[in-house]
C-alpha cells in the first residue's frame, strides 16, 4: 500500500470525523471485538479506529476475528502490524479462547458476495445463523458488555417496489424463501430474530445496522457488483458492459461514511432498533456507467446486454436513511461523484 493511498484514507477519516469526535468518547480506552474484522467493512472500521487512536488518543484495543487473518497482513500491513490491533484467526461458528475483556462487539462476519451465496448456500446460512448464535452466546458470558452492533443487510427487505423512493426500516417487504439467492437475506433475517431473542432473554444490548451498497477503497474490483465491474472495465480501457438493460436503480455510500455511521450506531444507537446504512442518492446503472466513463480522458464505450423494451425485471435497492440522519444526527459527507473519483484514484495507485 502506497503512502498516497494511506494519505487518502487519512483524509477521508479526517473529513468524516471533523468536529464530531466527542460523540465516540465512550469508546476511549475500551476493547472492541469485530467479527469479520478483516473484510471490507472491518478494514474500514479498523482504519477509523486507528485514526482515532493516532490523532485523538482514544487508546482503543481492537480484536479482529476472521478466517482470513493470514492474508490480512499482505493486504493491509500498516494495520496488521499495529500494537493496538490483535488478529484472531477463528471460524465464527467455533469460538474458543476469545478475549474476555471485550466490552463492545461489532458482528460483521459473513460475506456479502452473491457468488458465494449461489455456490454454497448452505455454508452461507450456517455461517450467518450459527455464527450469530455463537457470538451472542459468547457475549452473554462477558462480564461487561456495553453494546453489540449486529451487521444485518438491506437485502432483508426483499424486492423494493419501483415507486418506493427509499426503503424505510419499517418496510415489511417480503422475500421469496425458495429463490436461488434467498440464502443470504433469509439468514440475515433470522440473524436479526436471533439477536432479538438474545436481547429479550439475555438482556443483551443489541442494535442492528442494515447496510446497502458501498463503493470505495478496499473494495475489490472483482466483487460481483455493477459499480465495481464498471470501474474495472473502464480501468481496463473499456467498454463498460452493463448486464441487463441499465435501468436497474442503486445507490452507493462511500466507506468512510459507512464506518463513521456504524461506530455512531454502535455508541448512540438505541437498543433493539435497526438503522439503514447507505446512500439515498439513487442512480440507474446506465447513468452510473456514464458517470464512470466521464472520469476518463477517453471515455470508454458503454454497452448493454439487453434492449430496454425487453427488460423484464427492473430492480431497485435504495435505502431511506431518515432514521439515522434524524435520530443520530448523521450525514453523507462524500457524494457519489467524489466516491467514484476516489475509488478510481485508489485503484490506479494500486495498479501502479
Amino acid at each position: 500500500m502506497t503512502q498516497t493511498q494511506k494519505e487518502l484514507i487519512h483524509n477521508d477519516c479526517e473529513t468524516v470525523t471533523s468536529g464530531l469526535i466527542s460523540r465516540l468518547d465512550s469508546l476511549k480506552n475500551e476493547r472492541i471485538l469485530i467479527t469479520g474484522g478483516t473484510g471490507f467493512m472491518g478494514t474500514w472500521l479498523t482504519e477509523l479506529v486507528a485514526f482515532l487512536n493516532d490523532n485523538h488518543n482514544f487508546n482503543v484495543q481492537l480484536y479482529l476475528l476472521s478466517t482470513h487473518s493470514h492474508s490480512y497482513a499482505e493486504r493491509a500491513p500498516h494495520l496488521a502490524r499495529r500494537p493496538d490491533i490483535t488478529l484472531i484467526e477463528r471460524d465464527i461458528r467455533n469460538l474458543t479462547n476469545i478475549p474476555e475483556d471485550v466490552s463492545w462487539i461489532i458482528h460483521a462476519a459473513a460475506t456479502p458476495d452473491s457468488r458465494a451465496h449461489a455456490s454454497d448456500p448452505l455454508r452461507t446460512v450456517d455461517v450467518i445463523v450459527e455464527g450469530t448464535n455463537a457470538i451472542l452466546e459468547y457475549a452473554a458470558r462477558l462480564p461487561d458488555v456495553e453494546k453489540i452492533l449486529n451487521i444485518s443487510s438491506g437485502q432483508i427487505y426483499g424486492a423494493q417496489p419501483r415507486d418506493l423512493k427509499g426503503i424505510p426500516e419499517t418496510f415489511i417487504g417480503g422475500l421469496d424463501c425458495s429463490a436461488f439467492n434467498a440464502a443470504y437475506p433469509e439468514s440475515k433475517r433470522i440473524a436479526e430474530t436471533i439477536c432479538s431473542i438474545h436481547r429479550n432473554q439475555q438482556r443483551l444490548p443489541i442494535v442492528n445496522a442494515r447496510p446497502f451498497a458501498f463503493i470505495g477503497p478496499y473494495q475489490g474490483l472483482d466483487r460481483p457488483w455493477a459499480i465495481n465491474n464498471f470501474i474495472r472495465d473502464a480501468l481496463l480501457g473499456g467498454p463498460i458492459r452493463i448486464l441487463g438493460d441499465g435501468q436497474t436503480v442503486r445507490s452507493y455510500m462511500y466507506p468512510s461514511d459507512m464506518a463513521w455511521w456504524l461506530l455512531n450506531i454502535l455508541v448512540q444507537g438505541k437498543v433493539g432498533t435497526s438503522y439503514n446504512v447507505g446512500s439515498p442518492e439513487a442512480i440507474t446503472l446506465q447513468e452510473l456507467a456514464e458517470k464512470i466513463a466521464g472520469q476518463f480522458p477517453k471515455p470508454p464505450k458503454i454497452i448493454s446486454g439487453l434492449s430496454k423494451d425487453k427488460a423484464l425485471k427492473i430492480s431497485k435497492f435504495v435505502p431511506a436513511v431518515d432514521l439515522a440522519i434524524n435520530s443520530l444526527d448523521l450525514k453523507i459527507t462524500t457524494n457519489l461523484d467524489t466516491a467514484i473519483k476516489r475509488t478510481i484514484l485508489w485503484n490506479q495507485m494500486a495498479i501502479q
Binding site: 451465496h117 455456490s119 436461488f180 439467492n181 460481483p224 465491474n229 481496463l236 425487453k310
Partner: protein, 339 residues
C-alpha cells in the same frame, strides 16, 4: 427489428466431426472467410474446448496455442471465442495464455446441472475485461425450473449471457420455446441457444428459440459439428433475415464461407444418419457417435443398443470412457444369450 448475435462454432464444434484433427491451414482459411462475411463471433478449438485434447476425448492435431494464434491472425474484425469446460481447462494452465493470445469471448461451459464449477473461470474472464458467457450442455436433461436456477447462478457469477446447448439434438421446438421463455422471464441477461440437428430440427429449434426471445444463436457452416451437425449457419442467417431479424452478416460472403468450409474442412457433409437419430432420441451427446460406432464395431455390438444404454445411464460429455464399459457388457450379454 430484433438483433440476433450469431456465434459461429464451425472451427470448434466442427472439430468433433473430424476427430479434432483440424489443421492450421483450415483454421486460417475459414476464419478469414468468416471474418470477411462479418460473422461477429468465431469460436475455435478442440471440440470439447480449451485444454481438452487428450486420449480420453481425442487428441488435437495442433495445440490450443497454435489454433488460437492462427485464428487471431485471420480475424481482424470478428471476435475470437473459445469454449471452456472447467476441469479440461484450468485458469493457470490454459485460460491465462488464451486471453494473452487475444481471445475476446469465453464461453464457460458445464453440464446443465453443474454450473457451480464455472464461477472461478467466469470471474477470471471478467477480471481480464473479456466477455464471459455461460453455456449449459445437455440442457434437455434438466427441467426448465432447474435451468433457471443454474442460469441464475451463472448470472450471479458475472456471465453476460447464457446459452443452453442441445448437445444431443434431442429437443422438439415446443420444448425449446418452453425453456427459452422461462429463462427470459427469470434472467436479466441475454439468452442463447445452440442446436444439434440429430432429429432434423436444428434450424426449426433455433427459430423457436429466437421467437421465444433468445438473442444469441449458434450455427456452423454447412452444419459442420458433432453428430448430425449444428444449425446450418448460412441457412440460419437466411431464415432469420427472412423473419425480420438482423444479424449484420454479409449473406453472400457467408455463403462463400460455407462453400470454402465444404471444400476445405469437410470430409463429408454432415447428415442425419441412423446413429444420429438414435443419439437424438436417446438423448446422448452427439459427440459420442464416432467412438460408439468404432467401439461397437470392434466388439460386434449393435451401436443403437449402445446408445440407448448410454441414454439410460444419462451419460454426459466427458464420460466417453463409459462407452467401452457399456459395449463390453452388451457383448458379454450377447455371448451368454448365444450359448
Amino acid at each position: 427489428m430484433k438483433k440476433i448475435l450469431i456465434h459461429d462454432v464451425t472451427l470448434r464444434d466442427g472439430n468433433h466431426a473430424i476427430s479434432h484433427k483440424i489443421t492450421k491451414n483450415q483454421i486460417a482459411i475459414y476464419a478469414a472467410a468468416a471474418d470477411a462475411a462479418g460473422v461477429p463471433i468465431v469460436e475455435v478449438g478442440h471440440g470439447n474446448g480449451l485444454g481438452a485434447s487428450s486420449l480420453q476425448v481425442g487428441e488435437s492435431a495442433i495445440n490450443d496455442e497454435t489454433m488460437l494464434r492462427i485464428a487471431k491472425e485471420n480475424l481482424p474484425h470478428s471476435k475470437l471465442a473459445i469454449h471452456v469446460i472447467p476441469g479440461f481447462a484450468t485458469i493457470e494452465k490454459d485460460l491465462i495464455r488464451a486471453i494473452d493470445i487475444g481471445v475476446d469471448v469465453v464461453r464457460v461451459a458445464s453440464h446443465c446441472t453443474e454450473t457451480d464449477i464455472t464461477q472461478r473461470h467466469i470471474n477470471y474472464v471478467r477480471d481480464r475485461g473479456k466477455e464471459a458467457y455461460g453455456a449449459l450442455m445437455m440442457s434437455h436433461m434438466a427441467s426448465k425450473e432447474t435451468l433457471v436456477d443454474e442460469c441464475q447462478k451463472m448470472e450471479s457469477y458475472g456471465a453476460e449471457g447464457v446459452i443452453i446447448f442441445d448437445s444431443a439434438g434431442a429437443y422438439l421446438p415446443n420444448q425449446v420455446t418452453d425453456r427459452i421463455t422461462e429463462l427470459k422471464n427469470n434472467l436479466n441477461i441475454p439468452v442463447g441457444f445452440h442446436a444439434h440437428n440429430n432429429l432434423g430440427l436444428g434450424i426449426a429449434n433455433s427459430l423457436a428459440a429466437a421467437e421465444a426471445g433468445a438473442s444469441i444463436i449458434d450455427g456452423s457452416a454447412r452444419g459442420f459439428g458433432a453428430g448430425a451437425g449444428n444449425a446450418q449457419l448460412e441457412v440460419l442467417d437466411a431464415v432469420l433475415e427472412k423473419m425480420g431479424y438482423i444479424t449484420d452478416i454479409n449473406f453472400y460472403k457467408l455463403l462463400d464461407a460455407a462453400d470454402i468450409a465444404e471444400k476445405e474442412l469437410l470430409k463429408e457433409i454432415p447428415r442425419i444418419d441412423s446413429l444420429s437419430i438414435i443419439s437424438g432420441i436417446s438423448g446422448v451427446f452427439s459427440g459420442f457417435s464416432k467412438p460408439v460406432e468404432r467401439i461397437s464395431k470392434e466388439y460386434n455390438v449393435d451401436p443403437r443398443d449402445v446408445f440407448f444404454e448410454l441414454g439410460r445411464r444419462q451419460v454426459v460429455a466427458g464420460q466417453e470412457d463409459i462407452i467401452i464399459d457399456v459395449v463390453s457388457k452388451l457383448a458379454l450379454q450377447k455371448r451368454v444369450s448365444n450359448v
